[in-house]
């Protein structure tokens, strides 16, 4: 399990250009964000221009990984060891982050212009930059201190972003999120404290070597697990999520639901794979909760009247798919084949969901922006007027439903296969139920949109490209299904 996270010594030292690429990937979003605050862009093309180097850095890191396999960096500052590594998984997640981040950034100018956001809009850029930088750092960092810093940075910036709309419900939801996020990270810190106290080090690679199962590891895992579960909105600690998204700006929601909560999940899995290499019950508990999450999230989304709540609740359910895979990733006595399948399926699902959810939020935002209605009923007749937004929504929801040929399907196929090999029938049932529930709420929404009997409204025209950006994201999620070979290839490579 540990080698999959790239926690071993690398064969090659990174080249000079790779250093620069790393720097750009980590720092540029932040700088650009600050720049954006100083000179808020009015159109998409300067944003596109500015984000080119970021994307280029991602591609360079990809090619660097391609050439030399695992890369790692280590610095010692005042007795502290900070370390980063670049393996297939982190490249994949980094690229995902950059793509979605750039898409959200491109989407933002048009959105801000159309939705009359007020003076706080300026703050969005730096916060977005911080979130993206912190996310990139999380995918790369391999010591607990850096992870903690990045996590906190990301959390605070995310809270800030989500509250920018400034409405009372948004503030209240944001306040709840803030407090819970902070408490979550303190719980996490408590776990770190135990690790630091017992083994006296924070670098994951070293820890992976020294940690043996024992009470300390277990307590630390429990604390870290609970804290990060809270931040990752895992059922039943998910309840803060929907109100937050209900009132947030669209690009912010896209980023948050697509990436931010995934970062906590990523850390959770990474740390547990170090702390709990072969435990039976803890992953099971998570998986059972995942089962409930699928059902609960699905039901919530199914019965809601608000479009954004629907999208947000679907996140809860989708996280359930990931949770259900935990026993396969962490449990004992899993044969290599199902474990590999589950591992690949897990990340494919995560990445696919990130893209699809971002696209879905954007599509939903477009619909809301155009119709001025937040409810599903307000969508009546949109199929005629806003076909593209609906199409984007539809393509994204194919991924969420896990219907072929989307990435959701391929991921589900792999997960199912792994579950069947390991005979986890309840997990199979959960996955299949999830499909049906997802279809239920997605098509409930479409049902409203296809209603031709509704009265006509005046729709606000959308800025050019807003739909296209969402479409691109949705198509990426979609295409990853058949082209799953390429992202998964990344994760094959780099075994020691």
């Amino acid at each position: 399990m540990i080698w999959r996270f790239g926690l071993f010594d690398s064969t090659f030292a990174p080249l000079a250009t790779t250093h620069w690429a790393l720097l750009v990937a980590l720092v540029f979003p932040l700088l650009l964000g600050v720049l954006g605050a100083l000179f808020p862009p009015k159109r998409a093309f300067p944003v596109a221009l500015a984000s080119l180097p970021v994307l280029a850095s991602g591609v360079m890191l990809l090619s660097a990984f391609d050439q030399s396999g695992l890369l790692s960096w280590q610095w010692e500052i005042a007795g502290l060891i900070l370390s980063l590594r670049l393996n297939g998984l982190s490249v994949l997640l980094l690229l995902t982050t950059q793509c979605i981040g750039v898409a959200a950034a491109l989407y933002t100018p048009g959105y801000l212009r159309l939705s009359e956001t007020g003076p706080l809009a300026r703050w969005l850029w730096p916060l977005m930059g911080v979130v993206l930088s912190a996310l990139s750092l999380i995918w790369l960092a391999t010591d607990l201190l850096t992870l903690y810093i990045a996590l906190e940075l990301m959390g605070l910036a995310a809270v800030g972003m989500l509250m920018l709309s400034g409405k009372a419900p948004a503030l209240l939801a944001g306040m709840r999120y803030l407090l819970l996020a902070l408490v979550g990270s303190l719980t996490y810190l408590l776990g770190i404290a135990l690790i630091l106290g017992h083994w006296g080090r924070l670098d994951l690679q070293g820890l992976a070597k020294v940690i043996e199962p024992g009470p300390v590891a277990w307590f630390a895992a429990a604390l870290i697990g609970a804290g990060l579960a809270l931040k990752a909105a895992l059922f039943p600690l998910h309840a803060w999520l929907t109100p937050v998204h209900e009132n947030a700006w669209t690009p912010v929601s896209a980023l948050h639901a697509g990436l931010v909560i995934k970062a906590s999940l990523f850390m959770l899995l990474q740390l547990w794979s170090i702390l709990l290499p072969d435990t039976f019950y803890a992953p099971r508990v998570i998986a059972w909760l995942g089962l409930l999450a699928i059902v609960w999230g699905g039901l919530l989304a199914w019965r809601t009247d608000s479009l954004k709540t629907l999208v947000a609740s679907s996140t809860v359910a989708q996280l359930g798919y990931l949770m259900v895979a935990f026993p396969l990733l962490l449990g004992p006595d899993i044969a290599p084949l199902p474990r590999a399948l589950a591992w690949e399926g897990f990340w494919l699902q995560l990445v696919g969901h990130a893209f699809a959810k971002a696209a879905m939020f954007m599509a939903a935002g477009n619909l809301i922006l155009a119709t001025g209605e937040h409810t599903l009923k307000g969508l009546a007749g949109t199929s005629r007027r806003l076909p593209l937004s609906l199409l984007v929504f539809g393509i994204a929801s194919i991924t969420l439903m896990g219907l072929p040929p989307s990435s959701g399907f391929t991921a589900k196929w792999m997960l199912l296969q792994a579950m069947i090999i390991t005979q986890q029938w309840w997990a199979v049932a959960a996955l299949l139920t999830g499909t049906l529930l997802t279809a239920a709420y997605v098509f409930r929404m479409f049902r409203y949109s296809f209603d031709e009997t509704a009265p006509r409204h005046r729709y606000q025209p959308l800025a050019p490209g807003m739909d296209l950006i969402a479409l691109t994201l949705a198509l990426i999620a979609f295409a990853l299904g058949l082209l799953a070979h390429f992202p998964l290839e990344l994760m094959h490579g780099g075994s020691p």
Binding site: L171, L172, L182
Partner: protein, 226 residues
């Protein structure tokens, strides 16, 4: 020598615990705030005592000088003329919730305590040798329970801060004053301050938008509290 140190530590621990408890459970918000200042000052001393002057400085700066004013600001005492200042927490919790939280606090206390027992194996035999550590565990558990119990946003913010301090004490207790621990704690302090500041701003803004009445609710304004 050791005994005297112990005495000071015990005193500090008691001071910390006492002020923390008042801070957490006093419905009079201004008084709770004042006790937070006391708590923060004790924390400065405790860091000094634990041999981490850098942390003491940081605590002085961040905890005493920056966070405390945030609270007063949140209560509406630093910007006169704004909407009515907060005075008391008016919410009464159902007994089941209270009981549940008490149980949780106890269990949590036991759990963290047990965890620390495994980290520092000799603590079982001489719990009194680590009074600050013990206080940290106690404060952390209580603050978390209080956080879960309270519905008033301000009190939750306060509880979060105390929880943070408890965790920091605990961290330094188990990890000593290594660079890594200090770095973690410094980051934590910074985050706590940033969080408190953000929280205070939010509380003010909410009060401005929705009025005092809405503030305590930890739910959507329209929902009934369960």
């Amino acid at each position: 020598m050791i005994a005297s140190f112990d005495a000071i530590e015990v005193l500090l621990a008691l001071c910390l615990t006492g002020s923390a408890f008042v801070c957490l459970f006093d419905r009079h918000l201004i008084r709770a705030c004042c006790f937070f200042v006391v708590f923060a000052v004790s924390m400065v001393l405790a860091w000094w005592q634990l041999g981490a002057p850098w942390l003491a400085a940081a605590e002085l700066l961040l905890g005493v000088m920056l966070t405390s004013p945030c609270f007063f600001y949140a209560l509406g005492h630093l910007s006169p003329g704004a909407s009515a200042p907060l005075k008391r927490d008016q919410f009464s919790e159902p007994w089941s919730r209270v009981a549940m939280r008490v149980v949780l606090a106890l269990v949590w206390f036991v759990m963290v305590g047990a965890a620390i027992r495994f980290v520092i194996a000799d603590m079982v035999y001489s719990p009194a040798e680590h009074p600050l550590l013990l206080a940290g565990v106690l404060i952390a558990a209580t603050a978390l329970a209080a956080f879960a119990l309270h519905r008033h946003l301000f009190r939750r913010l306060l509880a979060f801060n105390l929880l943070g301090s408890g965790v920091f004490i605990l961290l330094s207790g188990v990890a000593g004053s290594s660079a890594a621990a200090q770095a973690l704690i410094s980051v934590g302090l910074l985050v706590a301050w940033l969080g408190s500041m953000l929280g205070a701003l939010l509380i003010r803004q909410l009060m401005h938008l929705e009025g005092v009445e809405a503030l305590g609710r930890d739910g959507e304004p329209k929902e009934s509290t369960t």
